[in-house]
Symmetry: C2
Subunit: 304 residues, 2 copies
Amino acid sequence: MYVVGHKIPDSDSICGAIALAYLKNQIGEAATAARLGELSPETAFILDKFGFEAPELKLSYAGENVYIVDHSEVTQAPDDIAQATIVGIVDHHKLGDLTTSTPLECWIRPVGCSNTIIKMMYDFYNVEIPKNIAGIMMCAILSDTVIFKSPTCTTADIKCVEALAEIAGIEDFKALGMEMFKVKSAVLGTPARDLVMRDFKDFNMNGNLVGIGQLEVIDLSVFDEIRADLEADIVKLKAEGNRHSVFLLLTDIMKEGSQILIASDDESLIERAYGVTPVEGKAWLDGVLSRKKQVVPPLQDAFA
Amino acid sequence: MYVVGHKIPDSDSICGAIALAYLKNQIGEAATAARLGELSPETAFILDKFGFEAPELKLSYAGENVYIVDHSEVTQAPDDIAQATIVGIVDHHKLGDLTTSTPLECWIRPVGCSNTIIKMMYDFYNVEIPKNIAGIMMCAILSDTVIFKSPTCTTADIKCVEALAEIAGIEDFKALGMEMFKVKSAVLGTPARDLVMRDFKDFNMNGNLVGIGQLEVIDLSVFDEIRADLEADIVKLKAEGNRHSVFLLLTDIMKEGSQILIASDDESLIERAYGVTPVEGKAWLDGVLSRKKQVVPPLQDAFA
Protein backbone atom coordinates (compact mmCIF):
# COMPACT_ATOMS: atom_id res chain seq x y z
CA MET A 1 0.00 0.00 0.00
CA TYR A 2 0.96 3.64 -0.41
CA VAL A 3 0.59 6.10 2.47
CA VAL A 4 0.01 9.59 1.15
CA GLY A 5 -1.13 12.98 2.47
CA HIS A 6 -2.89 15.78 0.65
CA LYS A 7 -2.00 17.83 -2.41
CA ILE A 8 0.45 20.65 -1.69
CA PRO A 9 1.73 18.63 1.24
CA ASP A 10 2.47 20.25 4.58
CA SER A 11 4.68 18.81 7.31
CA ASP A 12 1.80 16.79 8.80
CA SER A 13 1.15 15.10 5.44
CA ILE A 14 4.81 14.27 4.80
CA CYS A 15 5.92 13.31 8.31
CA GLY A 16 2.64 11.45 8.85
CA ALA A 17 3.12 9.39 5.67
CA ILE A 18 6.66 8.44 6.76
CA ALA A 19 5.61 7.62 10.33
CA LEU A 20 2.52 5.63 9.36
CA ALA A 21 4.31 3.68 6.59
CA TYR A 22 6.97 2.67 9.13
CA LEU A 23 4.28 1.54 11.60
CA LYS A 24 2.41 -0.45 8.95
CA ASN A 25 5.62 -2.24 7.93
CA GLN A 26 6.29 -3.10 11.58
CA ILE A 27 2.88 -4.79 11.91
CA GLY A 28 3.41 -6.81 8.76
CA GLU A 29 1.59 -4.65 6.20
CA ALA A 30 4.01 -3.57 3.46
CA ALA A 31 3.70 0.19 2.97
CA THR A 32 5.54 2.95 1.10
CA ALA A 33 5.35 6.63 2.00
CA ALA A 34 4.53 8.90 -0.95
CA ARG A 35 3.75 12.56 -1.60
CA LEU A 36 1.60 14.55 -4.02
CA GLY A 37 3.87 17.58 -4.39
CA GLU A 38 7.04 19.46 -3.50
CA LEU A 39 8.27 19.83 0.06
CA SER A 40 7.80 23.19 1.76
CA PRO A 41 10.96 24.81 3.19
CA GLU A 42 9.65 23.94 6.67
CA THR A 43 9.21 20.27 5.83
CA ALA A 44 12.60 20.14 4.11
CA PHE A 45 14.12 21.60 7.29
CA ILE A 46 12.44 18.91 9.44
CA LEU A 47 13.43 15.98 7.23
CA ASP A 48 16.99 17.28 6.97
CA LYS A 49 17.25 17.73 10.74
CA PHE A 50 16.26 14.12 11.44
CA GLY A 51 18.03 12.52 8.46
CA PHE A 52 15.14 11.58 6.16
CA GLU A 53 14.89 11.70 2.37
CA ALA A 54 11.67 13.07 0.85
CA PRO A 55 9.07 10.31 0.25
CA GLU A 56 8.55 9.19 -3.35
CA LEU A 57 6.73 11.77 -5.53
CA LYS A 58 3.79 9.81 -6.93
CA LEU A 59 0.71 11.37 -8.52
CA SER A 60 -1.19 8.36 -9.89
CA TYR A 61 -2.70 5.60 -7.72
CA ALA A 62 -5.12 3.75 -10.04
CA GLY A 63 -5.29 0.09 -9.01
CA GLU A 64 -3.28 0.68 -5.81
CA ASN A 65 -4.19 0.38 -2.14
CA VAL A 66 -3.92 3.81 -0.54
CA TYR A 67 -3.87 4.96 3.09
CA ILE A 68 -4.88 8.63 3.18
CA VAL A 69 -3.26 11.02 5.68
CA ASP A 70 -4.51 14.41 6.92
CA HIS A 71 -7.74 14.89 4.93
CA SER A 72 -10.86 13.16 3.63
CA GLU A 73 -11.63 15.44 0.68
CA VAL A 74 -11.81 14.52 -3.00
CA THR A 75 -10.23 17.86 -3.98
CA GLN A 76 -7.18 17.17 -1.80
CA ALA A 77 -6.71 13.53 -2.85
CA PRO A 78 -4.86 12.10 -5.87
CA ASP A 79 -6.72 12.88 -9.12
CA ASP A 80 -7.37 9.19 -9.81
CA ILE A 81 -8.34 8.23 -6.24
CA ALA A 82 -11.67 6.85 -7.56
CA GLN A 83 -9.64 4.13 -9.34
CA ALA A 84 -7.73 3.25 -6.16
CA THR A 85 -8.81 1.33 -3.05
CA ILE A 86 -8.75 3.49 0.07
CA VAL A 87 -7.80 1.09 2.87
CA GLY A 88 -7.61 3.71 5.61
CA ILE A 89 -7.77 7.37 6.57
CA VAL A 90 -6.02 9.12 9.45
CA ASP A 91 -7.22 12.69 9.82
CA HIS A 92 -8.15 15.51 12.18
CA HIS A 93 -10.38 17.68 9.95
CA LYS A 94 -14.09 17.79 9.24
CA LEU A 95 -15.38 14.71 7.42
CA GLY A 96 -15.04 15.33 3.69
CA ASP A 97 -16.58 13.78 0.60
CA LEU A 98 -14.28 10.80 0.00
CA THR A 99 -16.33 7.59 -0.14
CA THR A 100 -15.33 3.96 -0.65
CA SER A 101 -16.98 0.80 -1.98
CA THR A 102 -15.34 -1.46 0.62
CA PRO A 103 -14.91 -1.32 4.42
CA LEU A 104 -11.81 0.53 5.63
CA GLU A 105 -10.25 1.87 8.81
CA CYS A 106 -10.61 5.51 9.79
CA TRP A 107 -8.65 7.00 12.67
CA ILE A 108 -10.20 10.46 12.77
CA ARG A 109 -10.02 12.56 15.94
CA PRO A 110 -10.74 16.24 16.71
CA VAL A 111 -7.13 16.97 17.70
CA GLY A 112 -4.52 19.40 16.40
CA CYS A 113 -2.51 17.15 14.12
CA SER A 114 -2.70 13.80 12.30
CA ASN A 115 0.62 12.80 13.87
CA THR A 116 -0.99 12.90 17.32
CA ILE A 117 -3.39 10.22 16.07
CA ILE A 118 -0.54 8.25 14.48
CA LYS A 119 1.10 8.22 17.92
CA MET A 120 -2.16 6.67 19.26
CA MET A 121 -1.86 4.04 16.51
CA TYR A 122 1.71 3.21 17.59
CA ASP A 123 0.40 2.84 21.15
CA PHE A 124 -2.54 0.68 20.02
CA TYR A 125 -0.25 -1.70 18.12
CA ASN A 126 2.38 -1.48 20.85
CA VAL A 127 5.15 -0.58 18.37
CA GLU A 128 8.20 1.35 19.53
CA ILE A 129 8.76 4.70 17.78
CA PRO A 130 12.33 5.13 16.47
CA LYS A 131 14.10 8.28 17.67
CA ASN A 132 14.19 10.03 14.28
CA ILE A 133 10.53 9.25 13.51
CA ALA A 134 9.56 10.65 16.92
CA GLY A 135 11.45 13.82 15.91
CA ILE A 136 9.54 14.42 12.68
CA MET A 137 6.19 13.53 14.28
CA MET A 138 6.89 16.02 17.06
CA CYS A 139 7.77 18.78 14.57
CA ALA A 140 4.60 18.14 12.56
CA ILE A 141 2.51 18.60 15.72
CA LEU A 142 4.40 21.78 16.70
CA SER A 143 3.77 23.09 13.19
CA ASP A 144 0.04 22.25 13.03
CA THR A 145 -0.64 23.56 16.55
CA VAL A 146 1.55 26.68 16.07
CA ILE A 147 3.59 25.58 19.11
CA PHE A 148 0.35 24.96 21.08
CA LYS A 149 -1.05 28.46 20.35
CA SER A 150 -3.67 27.37 17.87
CA PRO A 151 -7.24 26.86 19.17
CA THR A 152 -7.04 23.45 17.46
CA CYS A 153 -4.43 22.34 19.99
CA THR A 154 -5.70 19.80 22.54
CA THR A 155 -4.28 18.25 25.70
CA ALA A 156 -3.65 15.12 23.62
CA ASP A 157 -1.36 17.10 21.27
CA ILE A 158 0.65 18.61 24.12
CA LYS A 159 1.09 15.27 25.89
CA CYS A 160 2.04 13.69 22.60
CA VAL A 161 4.73 16.29 21.86
CA GLU A 162 6.15 15.85 25.38
CA ALA A 163 6.33 12.06 24.94
CA LEU A 164 7.85 12.31 21.45
CA ALA A 165 10.41 14.91 22.59
CA GLU A 166 11.57 12.48 25.24
CA ILE A 167 11.88 9.63 22.72
CA ALA A 168 13.70 11.92 20.25
CA GLY A 169 15.97 13.29 22.96
CA ILE A 170 14.98 16.93 22.31
CA GLU A 171 15.22 19.00 25.49
CA ASP A 172 13.85 22.36 24.33
CA PHE A 173 11.13 21.50 21.80
CA LYS A 174 9.70 25.03 21.87
CA ALA A 175 13.03 26.43 20.68
CA LEU A 176 13.02 23.91 17.84
CA GLY A 177 9.49 25.00 17.04
CA MET A 178 10.56 28.66 16.81
CA GLU A 179 13.46 27.65 14.55
CA MET A 180 10.90 25.96 12.26
CA PHE A 181 8.70 29.05 12.14
CA LYS A 182 11.75 31.20 11.34
CA VAL A 183 12.38 28.97 8.32
CA LYS A 184 8.71 29.47 7.40
CA SER A 185 9.04 33.26 7.74
CA ALA A 186 11.78 33.54 5.12
CA VAL A 187 9.44 34.55 2.31
CA LEU A 188 11.44 37.20 0.47
CA GLY A 189 12.86 36.18 -2.89
CA THR A 190 10.18 33.53 -3.39
CA PRO A 191 7.75 34.09 -6.30
CA ALA A 192 4.26 35.19 -5.20
CA ARG A 193 2.59 32.10 -6.73
CA ASP A 194 4.89 29.78 -4.80
CA LEU A 195 3.99 31.56 -1.56
CA VAL A 196 0.24 31.50 -2.27
CA MET A 197 0.40 27.79 -3.07
CA ARG A 198 2.72 26.81 -0.21
CA ASP A 199 -0.12 25.77 2.07
CA PHE A 200 -3.18 26.01 -0.14
CA LYS A 201 -6.38 23.96 0.04
CA ASP A 202 -9.44 23.88 -2.16
CA PHE A 203 -12.81 23.29 -0.54
CA ASN A 204 -16.22 22.53 -1.99
CA MET A 205 -18.55 24.93 -0.19
CA ASN A 206 -22.18 24.37 -1.09
CA GLY A 207 -21.13 23.68 -4.69
CA ASN A 208 -18.62 26.55 -4.89
CA LEU A 209 -14.89 25.98 -5.28
CA VAL A 210 -13.08 28.02 -2.64
CA GLY A 211 -9.31 28.08 -2.29
CA ILE A 212 -7.70 29.14 0.99
CA GLY A 213 -3.96 29.62 1.42
CA GLN A 214 -2.12 30.34 4.63
CA LEU A 215 1.35 31.66 5.46
CA GLU A 216 2.38 31.59 9.10
CA VAL A 217 5.22 33.92 10.09
CA ILE A 218 6.66 35.39 13.24
CA ASP A 219 6.20 39.00 12.02
CA LEU A 220 3.82 40.24 9.31
CA SER A 221 6.31 42.97 8.30
CA VAL A 222 8.01 40.35 6.08
CA PHE A 223 5.05 40.85 3.72
CA ASP A 224 5.35 44.65 3.42
CA GLU A 225 7.34 44.49 0.18
CA ILE A 226 5.34 41.68 -1.44
CA ARG A 227 1.74 42.08 -0.27
CA ALA A 228 0.68 43.79 -3.51
CA ASP A 229 2.14 40.90 -5.54
CA LEU A 230 0.26 38.37 -3.38
CA GLU A 231 -2.99 40.32 -3.83
CA ALA A 232 -2.56 40.37 -7.58
CA ASP A 233 -1.73 36.70 -7.65
CA ILE A 234 -4.80 35.45 -5.80
CA VAL A 235 -6.98 37.37 -8.27
CA LYS A 236 -5.21 35.50 -11.08
CA LEU A 237 -5.46 32.18 -9.28
CA LYS A 238 -9.19 32.65 -8.77
CA ALA A 239 -9.73 33.22 -12.51
CA GLU A 240 -7.44 30.37 -13.60
CA GLY A 241 -9.15 27.77 -11.43
CA ASN A 242 -12.68 29.00 -12.06
CA ARG A 243 -12.99 29.46 -8.32
CA HIS A 244 -15.70 31.41 -6.50
CA SER A 245 -13.12 32.79 -4.09
CA VAL A 246 -9.45 32.66 -3.18
CA PHE A 247 -8.38 33.80 0.27
CA LEU A 248 -4.85 34.11 1.61
CA LEU A 249 -4.31 34.18 5.36
CA LEU A 250 -1.19 36.02 6.49
CA THR A 251 -0.89 34.72 10.04
CA ASP A 252 1.20 36.43 12.70
CA ILE A 253 1.91 33.69 15.23
CA MET A 254 3.33 36.14 17.81
CA LYS A 255 0.49 38.69 17.62
CA GLU A 256 -1.94 35.75 17.26
CA GLY A 257 -4.11 36.90 14.42
CA SER A 258 -4.38 36.82 10.63
CA GLN A 259 -4.70 39.34 7.85
CA ILE A 260 -6.98 37.87 5.18
CA LEU A 261 -6.40 38.88 1.54
CA ILE A 262 -9.60 38.52 -0.47
CA ALA A 263 -10.37 37.70 -4.11
CA SER A 264 -14.05 36.79 -4.29
CA ASP A 265 -17.22 37.00 -6.37
CA ASP A 266 -18.97 38.01 -3.16
CA GLU A 267 -16.90 39.99 -0.67
CA SER A 268 -19.89 40.25 1.69
CA LEU A 269 -19.19 36.63 2.67
CA ILE A 270 -16.34 37.92 4.84
CA GLU A 271 -18.66 40.23 6.73
CA ARG A 272 -21.20 37.42 7.21
CA ALA A 273 -18.58 34.87 8.23
CA TYR A 274 -16.30 36.92 10.47
CA GLY A 275 -18.22 40.11 11.32
CA VAL A 276 -15.55 42.43 9.90
CA THR A 277 -15.79 44.74 6.92
CA PRO A 278 -12.95 44.34 4.39
CA VAL A 279 -11.07 47.48 3.38
CA GLU A 280 -9.34 47.40 -0.01
CA GLY A 281 -9.69 43.60 -0.21
CA LYS A 282 -8.15 42.93 3.19
CA ALA A 283 -9.27 42.44 6.79
CA TRP A 284 -7.62 41.72 10.14
CA LEU A 285 -9.06 38.67 11.91
CA ASP A 286 -7.99 39.05 15.51
CA GLY A 287 -7.16 35.80 17.34
CA VAL A 288 -7.51 33.75 14.15
CA LEU A 289 -4.68 31.23 13.75
CA SER A 290 -6.48 28.15 12.49
CA ARG A 291 -7.86 27.80 8.96
CA LYS A 292 -9.56 24.55 9.94
CA LYS A 293 -11.27 25.69 13.11
CA GLN A 294 -11.67 29.46 12.74
CA VAL A 295 -11.77 30.18 9.03
CA VAL A 296 -13.46 27.27 7.22
CA PRO A 297 -16.54 26.58 9.43
CA PRO A 298 -17.91 30.19 9.52
CA LEU A 299 -17.25 30.50 5.79
CA GLN A 300 -19.06 27.24 5.11
CA ASP A 301 -22.00 28.55 7.16
CA ALA A 302 -21.94 31.80 5.19
CA PHE A 303 -22.15 29.81 1.94
CA ALA A 304 -24.95 27.52 3.23
CA MET B 1 -25.36 14.22 22.81
CA TYR B 2 -27.55 11.50 21.32
CA VAL B 3 -26.04 8.19 20.25
CA VAL B 4 -28.06 6.68 17.42
CA GLY B 5 -27.71 3.91 14.83
CA HIS B 6 -29.27 3.64 11.38
CA LYS B 7 -32.87 3.64 10.20
CA ILE B 8 -34.62 0.27 10.58
CA PRO B 9 -32.24 -0.47 13.42
CA ASP B 10 -30.65 -3.88 13.79
CA SER B 11 -29.14 -5.29 16.99
CA ASP B 12 -25.76 -3.66 16.28
CA SER B 13 -27.40 -0.21 16.02
CA ILE B 14 -29.45 -0.60 19.20
CA CYS B 15 -26.94 -2.43 21.42
CA GLY B 16 -24.16 -0.19 20.10
CA ALA B 17 -26.10 2.98 20.97
CA ILE B 18 -26.72 1.71 24.52
CA ALA B 19 -23.11 0.57 25.01
CA LEU B 20 -21.54 3.72 23.58
CA ALA B 21 -23.87 6.08 25.48
CA TYR B 22 -22.88 4.32 28.71
CA LEU B 23 -19.17 4.65 27.86
CA LYS B 24 -19.53 8.35 27.00
CA ASN B 25 -21.30 9.04 30.30
CA GLN B 26 -18.50 7.23 32.16
CA ILE B 27 -15.87 9.53 30.59
CA GLY B 28 -17.85 12.64 31.48
CA GLU B 29 -19.68 13.28 28.22
CA ALA B 30 -23.44 13.23 28.83
CA ALA B 31 -25.05 10.96 26.26
CA THR B 32 -28.47 9.40 25.61
CA ALA B 33 -29.05 6.31 23.48
CA ALA B 34 -31.75 6.72 20.85
CA ARG B 35 -33.23 4.79 17.93
CA LEU B 36 -34.73 5.60 14.53
CA GLY B 37 -37.29 2.81 14.41
CA GLU B 38 -38.95 -0.23 15.95
CA LEU B 39 -36.96 -3.07 17.51
CA SER B 40 -36.67 -6.30 15.54
CA PRO B 41 -37.78 -9.48 17.36
CA GLU B 42 -34.09 -10.44 17.66
CA THR B 43 -33.16 -7.13 19.29
CA ALA B 44 -36.19 -7.30 21.60
CA PHE B 45 -35.04 -10.78 22.64
CA ILE B 46 -31.52 -9.52 23.42
CA LEU B 47 -32.65 -6.47 25.42
CA ASP B 48 -35.15 -8.57 27.34
CA LYS B 49 -32.55 -11.24 28.13
CA PHE B 50 -30.15 -8.69 29.66
CA GLY B 51 -32.76 -6.45 31.28
CA PHE B 52 -32.71 -3.31 29.10
CA GLU B 53 -35.54 -1.08 27.97
CA ALA B 54 -35.58 0.04 24.32
CA PRO B 55 -33.70 3.32 23.80
CA GLU B 56 -35.79 6.45 23.23
CA LEU B 57 -37.48 6.58 19.81
CA LYS B 58 -36.33 9.90 18.37
CA LEU B 59 -36.55 10.89 14.71
CA SER B 60 -35.53 14.55 14.69
CA TYR B 61 -32.05 15.80 15.64
CA ALA B 62 -31.90 19.39 14.35
CA GLY B 63 -29.66 21.46 16.63
CA GLU B 64 -28.44 18.39 18.56
CA ASN B 65 -25.02 16.76 18.87
CA VAL B 66 -25.19 13.28 17.42
CA TYR B 67 -22.85 10.29 17.60
CA ILE B 68 -23.63 7.98 14.67
CA VAL B 69 -23.43 4.20 15.08
CA ASP B 70 -23.10 1.51 12.39
CA HIS B 71 -23.14 3.53 9.14
CA SER B 72 -21.89 6.71 7.48
CA GLU B 73 -24.63 7.11 4.85
CA VAL B 74 -27.05 10.02 4.43
CA THR B 75 -29.86 7.62 3.44
CA GLN B 76 -29.49 5.68 6.72
CA ALA B 77 -29.17 8.73 8.99
CA PRO B 78 -31.92 10.86 10.58
CA ASP B 79 -33.76 12.90 7.92
CA ASP B 80 -32.59 16.20 9.45
CA ILE B 81 -28.98 15.13 10.09
CA ALA B 82 -27.78 18.14 8.04
CA GLN B 83 -29.18 20.40 10.80
CA ALA B 84 -27.37 18.43 13.53
CA THR B 85 -23.70 18.35 14.53
CA ILE B 86 -22.15 14.94 14.00
CA VAL B 87 -19.56 14.65 16.79
CA GLY B 88 -18.51 11.09 16.01
CA ILE B 89 -19.06 7.96 13.95
CA VAL B 90 -18.37 4.35 14.93
CA ASP B 91 -18.80 2.03 11.97
CA HIS B 92 -17.56 -1.04 10.13
CA HIS B 93 -18.94 -0.44 6.63
CA LYS B 94 -17.63 1.29 3.52
CA LEU B 95 -17.21 5.04 3.92
CA GLY B 96 -20.50 6.68 2.96
CA ASP B 97 -21.53 10.19 1.99
CA LEU B 98 -22.06 11.82 5.39
CA THR B 99 -19.92 14.96 5.70
CA THR B 100 -19.48 17.50 8.49
CA SER B 101 -18.50 21.13 8.77
CA THR B 102 -16.48 20.59 11.97
CA PRO B 103 -13.82 18.09 13.08
CA LEU B 104 -15.16 14.90 14.66
CA GLU B 105 -14.01 11.50 15.81
CA CYS B 106 -14.42 8.44 13.59
CA TRP B 107 -13.75 4.95 14.89
CA ILE B 108 -14.17 2.99 11.67
CA ARG B 109 -12.59 -0.47 11.29
CA PRO B 110 -12.99 -3.27 8.73
CA VAL B 111 -14.35 -5.74 11.31
CA GLY B 112 -17.60 -7.67 11.58
CA CYS B 113 -19.56 -5.47 13.96
CA SER B 114 -19.63 -1.93 15.38
CA ASN B 115 -19.75 -3.37 18.89
CA THR B 116 -16.29 -4.89 18.39
CA ILE B 117 -15.03 -1.34 17.82
CA ILE B 118 -16.98 -0.04 20.83
CA LYS B 119 -15.15 -2.67 22.91
CA MET B 120 -11.86 -1.14 21.60
CA MET B 121 -13.16 2.26 22.75
CA TYR B 122 -13.86 0.88 26.26
CA ASP B 123 -10.28 -0.48 26.28
CA PHE B 124 -8.86 2.84 25.02
CA TYR B 125 -10.62 4.81 27.76
CA ASN B 126 -9.95 2.05 30.28
CA VAL B 127 -13.61 1.86 31.33
CA GLU B 128 -15.00 -1.35 32.82
CA ILE B 129 -17.88 -2.92 30.88
CA PRO B 130 -20.89 -3.79 33.08
CA LYS B 131 -22.04 -7.41 32.88
CA ASN B 132 -25.36 -6.69 31.12
CA ILE B 133 -23.79 -4.31 28.60
CA ALA B 134 -21.16 -6.96 27.79
CA GLY B 135 -24.08 -9.33 27.13
CA ILE B 136 -25.84 -7.13 24.58
CA MET B 137 -22.56 -6.21 22.87
CA MET B 138 -21.70 -9.90 22.56
CA CYS B 139 -25.11 -10.72 21.06
CA ALA B 140 -24.79 -7.89 18.52
CA ILE B 141 -21.46 -9.33 17.35
CA LEU B 142 -22.85 -12.88 17.16
CA SER B 143 -25.73 -11.50 15.09
CA ASP B 144 -23.63 -9.43 12.67
CA THR B 145 -21.05 -12.19 12.17
CA VAL B 146 -23.71 -14.96 11.92
CA ILE B 147 -22.01 -16.73 14.84
CA PHE B 148 -18.59 -16.25 13.14
CA LYS B 149 -19.73 -17.81 9.83
CA SER B 150 -19.90 -14.55 7.87
CA PRO B 151 -16.87 -13.64 5.72
CA THR B 152 -17.02 -10.26 7.48
CA CYS B 153 -15.99 -11.94 10.75
CA THR B 154 -12.42 -11.17 11.84
CA THR B 155 -10.13 -12.45 14.58
CA ALA B 156 -10.89 -9.23 16.44
CA ASP B 157 -14.62 -10.09 16.51
CA ILE B 158 -14.01 -13.61 17.82
CA LYS B 159 -11.62 -12.44 20.54
CA CYS B 160 -14.06 -9.70 21.47
CA VAL B 161 -16.99 -12.13 21.84
CA GLU B 162 -14.83 -14.40 24.00
CA ALA B 163 -13.84 -11.52 26.26
CA LEU B 164 -17.41 -10.20 26.49
CA ALA B 165 -18.83 -13.69 27.20
CA GLU B 166 -16.46 -13.95 30.14
CA ILE B 167 -17.51 -10.53 31.49
CA ALA B 168 -21.20 -11.39 30.97
CA GLY B 169 -20.78 -14.82 32.55
CA ILE B 170 -22.15 -16.66 29.50
CA GLU B 171 -20.59 -20.11 29.17
CA ASP B 172 -22.02 -21.31 25.85
CA PHE B 173 -22.25 -18.21 23.68
CA LYS B 174 -22.79 -20.23 20.50
CA ALA B 175 -25.94 -21.77 21.99
CA LEU B 176 -27.20 -18.28 22.83
CA GLY B 177 -26.40 -17.27 19.25
CA MET B 178 -28.50 -20.14 17.88
CA GLU B 179 -31.35 -19.16 20.21
CA MET B 180 -31.18 -15.66 18.72
CA PHE B 181 -31.32 -16.97 15.16
CA LYS B 182 -34.29 -19.17 16.06
CA VAL B 183 -36.11 -16.02 17.18
CA LYS B 184 -35.14 -14.47 13.84
CA SER B 185 -36.47 -17.50 11.95
CA ALA B 186 -40.01 -17.18 13.31
CA VAL B 187 -41.37 -15.34 10.26
CA LEU B 188 -44.82 -16.92 9.84
CA GLY B 189 -47.74 -14.72 10.78
CA THR B 190 -45.77 -11.53 10.17
CA PRO B 191 -47.00 -9.30 7.30
CA ALA B 192 -44.78 -9.43 4.18
CA ARG B 193 -43.96 -5.72 4.38
CA ASP B 194 -42.75 -6.05 7.96
CA LEU B 195 -40.45 -8.89 6.95
CA VAL B 196 -39.07 -7.04 3.91
CA MET B 197 -38.37 -3.97 6.04
CA ARG B 198 -37.00 -5.84 9.08
CA ASP B 199 -33.37 -5.39 7.99
CA PHE B 200 -33.61 -3.11 4.99
CA LYS B 201 -31.06 -0.56 3.76
CA ASP B 202 -31.16 1.94 0.94
CA PHE B 203 -27.97 2.65 -0.97
CA ASN B 204 -27.08 5.32 -3.48
CA MET B 205 -25.39 3.40 -6.31
CA ASN B 206 -24.04 5.71 -8.97
CA GLY B 207 -27.07 7.94 -8.58
CA ASN B 208 -29.60 5.08 -8.36
CA LEU B 209 -31.58 4.32 -5.22
CA VAL B 210 -31.23 0.62 -4.44
CA GLY B 211 -32.90 -1.05 -1.46
CA ILE B 212 -31.60 -4.34 -0.10
CA GLY B 213 -33.34 -6.32 2.62
CA GLN B 214 -32.08 -9.44 4.33
CA LEU B 215 -33.72 -12.15 6.43
CA GLU B 216 -31.39 -14.65 8.09
CA VAL B 217 -32.95 -17.94 9.15
CA ILE B 218 -31.81 -21.40 10.09
CA ASP B 219 -33.87 -23.10 7.35
CA LEU B 220 -35.23 -21.50 4.12
CA SER B 221 -38.30 -23.76 4.22
CA VAL B 222 -39.90 -21.21 6.59
CA PHE B 223 -40.40 -19.07 3.49
CA ASP B 224 -42.21 -21.71 1.39
CA GLU B 225 -45.67 -20.42 2.30
CA ILE B 226 -44.86 -16.71 2.06
CA ARG B 227 -42.25 -16.37 -0.71
CA ALA B 228 -44.86 -15.27 -3.27
CA ASP B 229 -46.10 -12.54 -0.89
CA LEU B 230 -42.53 -11.31 -0.38
CA GLU B 231 -41.92 -11.23 -4.15
CA ALA B 232 -45.07 -9.21 -4.70
CA ASP B 233 -44.18 -6.84 -1.88
CA ILE B 234 -40.69 -5.91 -3.12
CA VAL B 235 -42.21 -5.00 -6.51
CA LYS B 236 -44.58 -2.66 -4.66
CA LEU B 237 -41.82 -1.27 -2.48
CA LYS B 238 -39.69 -0.50 -5.53
CA ALA B 239 -42.53 1.49 -7.13
CA GLU B 240 -43.49 3.33 -3.92
CA GLY B 241 -39.95 4.51 -3.23
CA ASN B 242 -39.11 5.36 -6.82
CA ARG B 243 -36.22 2.91 -6.50
CA HIS B 244 -34.16 1.47 -9.33
CA SER B 245 -34.14 -1.92 -7.60
CA VAL B 246 -35.24 -3.73 -4.48
CA PHE B 247 -33.56 -6.99 -3.55
CA LEU B 248 -34.44 -9.31 -0.69
CA LEU B 249 -31.86 -11.79 0.54
CA LEU B 250 -33.24 -14.93 2.15
CA THR B 251 -30.17 -16.22 3.92
CA ASP B 252 -29.82 -19.80 5.13
CA ILE B 253 -27.19 -19.59 7.87
CA MET B 254 -26.84 -23.39 8.11
CA LYS B 255 -26.50 -24.07 4.34
CA GLU B 256 -24.42 -20.86 4.13
CA GLY B 257 -25.94 -19.17 1.11
CA SER B 258 -28.72 -16.77 0.12
CA GLN B 259 -31.64 -16.81 -2.25
CA ILE B 260 -32.00 -13.34 -3.75
CA LEU B 261 -35.49 -12.11 -4.72
CA ILE B 262 -35.28 -9.47 -7.45
CA ALA B 263 -37.37 -6.45 -8.37
CA SER B 264 -35.31 -4.31 -10.74
CA ASP B 265 -35.39 -2.06 -13.79
CA ASP B 266 -32.39 -4.03 -15.03
CA GLU B 267 -32.25 -7.68 -14.01
CA SER B 268 -28.99 -8.16 -15.96
CA LEU B 269 -27.23 -6.40 -13.05
CA ILE B 270 -27.51 -9.68 -11.10
CA GLU B 271 -25.72 -11.60 -13.85
CA ARG B 272 -22.99 -8.93 -14.06
CA ALA B 273 -22.59 -8.67 -10.29
CA TYR B 274 -22.79 -12.30 -9.24
CA GLY B 275 -22.34 -14.37 -12.41
CA VAL B 276 -25.66 -16.19 -12.04
CA THR B 277 -28.75 -15.99 -14.26
CA PRO B 278 -31.98 -15.27 -12.39
CA VAL B 279 -34.89 -17.61 -13.01
CA GLU B 280 -38.36 -16.18 -12.40
CA GLY B 281 -36.96 -13.23 -10.47
CA LYS B 282 -34.84 -15.33 -8.08
CA ALA B 283 -31.31 -16.70 -7.88
CA TRP B 284 -29.28 -18.77 -5.41
CA LEU B 285 -26.03 -17.11 -4.32
CA ASP B 286 -23.93 -19.89 -2.90
CA GLY B 287 -21.73 -18.99 0.05
CA VAL B 288 -23.23 -15.50 0.27
CA LEU B 289 -24.05 -14.52 3.88
CA SER B 290 -22.94 -10.89 4.01
CA ARG B 291 -24.83 -8.03 2.37
CA LYS B 292 -21.99 -5.66 3.18
CA LYS B 293 -19.09 -7.72 1.89
CA GLN B 294 -20.58 -10.04 -0.73
CA VAL B 295 -23.67 -8.32 -2.06
CA VAL B 296 -23.13 -4.55 -2.06
CA PRO B 297 -19.59 -4.21 -3.54
CA PRO B 298 -20.18 -6.33 -6.71
CA LEU B 299 -23.52 -4.58 -7.23
CA GLN B 300 -21.87 -1.20 -6.85
CA ASP B 301 -19.28 -2.23 -9.45
CA ALA B 302 -22.07 -3.42 -11.77
CA PHE B 303 -23.73 0.01 -11.48
CA ALA B 304 -20.45 1.92 -12.02
